[in-house]
Symmetry: C2
Subunit: 197 residues, 2 copies
């Protein structure tokens, strides 16, 4: 069915590699040359396939988000009690960012993108907002369901989400060089306890 010379690479693989590079170094500090080196592609191929650097970044950010969202959803659904699943997924995502060569951590790519590009770039800002909202909804569903099953929390779901998401954002940043994974886990667990989760 396909006519013409076939690609030697799988675009999806390239996006994953791009995620890795952008995640580590950020958007601005990643040069197109860096991407070429990491992917082994030639300039023309990359530009023909992905348009330009920013488009590739947005594709990477989006794929990153879909991955992490799916990860959460799966963990939540794998537990009989979704609330247990929710807590489990938060803790697992904490270590997802992984420790790099030195002891620093790369944090959450979405958080990094927000800090770096807002308010400089409206499109990425809009993308991050959508992702943030969708993630909030996922958590909201779990909390509301738990409540309707008789569970009582310290605060209404919206406030619980606000505190939880804010803390996660903070952990993502502070893991970069202020705290280690163990401390982060302790902080997160303390917050669960405080919120009555």
């Amino acid at each position: 069915m396909t006519v013409g010379r076939p690609r030697k690479f799988n675009p999806d693989d390239i996006v994953r590699i791009a995620i890795d590079v952008f995640w580590k170094k950020g958007y601005e500090q990643t040069s197109v040359a860096d991407l070429l080196k990491a992917t082994g592609l030639h300039k023309g191929s990359l530009y023909q396939t992905f348009g330009d650097k920013k488009t590739l970044f947005k594709a990477a950010l989006n794929t990153y988000y879909e991955d992490i969202y799916t990860k959460h959803k799966n963990i939540i659904n794998s537990e009989p009690d979704p609330l247990i699943g929710l807590k489990k997924s938060f803790k697992e995502v904490l270590s997802y960012s992984g420790t790099m060569g030195d002891q620093s951590n790369r944090g959450c790519m979405v958080v990094n993108a927000i800090v770096e590009t807002v308010p400089n770039d409206a499109e990425i800002k809009a993308l991050a907002e959508r992702q943030f909202q969708r993630f909030n909804s996922l958590i909201l569903g779990v909390l509301v369901m738990s409540e309707s099953n008789g569970r009582k929390f310290k605060y209404p779901p919206e406030m619980t989400i606000g505190l939880l998401m804010t803390l996660m954002t903070g952990l993502s940043v502070n893991l970069k060089d202020m705290i280690n994974l163990e401390q982060a886990n302790q902080i997160l667990e303390a917050q669960f306890e405080l919120l009555g989760l």
Copy 2:
């Protein structure tokens, strides 16, 4: 006493202007041209006085931090009960970053710097760590003093600080476009309540 042609500008004023520009746009996205435009200086003057872009950035980051640290300290000391002062200073610093042209906020400059430059730059990382530790000590002093005056908290001071600093970091980021100042204040107050502050 001074020999040679006198400066037409005050270096300290320039650093404040540099803070403003770097804070808004970040390190990489701020060009030397931006700085010249904002300060009205000429290239040679800037380089002669401050060395280079990164040195100026570090000077700006340091001054920013000293400002904010002093601000906190003053507010804490201005209250008969330092614990009240502590809470007040946190809330005040929240609005310190200010709303920009659009509805986005520039967050905390130190947080921005950590996200942008760690792990790319070891010096800035070290600077941020020092500042973080010194700030922690300031809070620790207040909590320990309150405890020795009979106040009881939900957690030991170290954990309280961990939760508080992490939340503040998260608020700084999320204020950029996820939440507004009012929501941020509510979240912060809820956290105070949870921690028994």
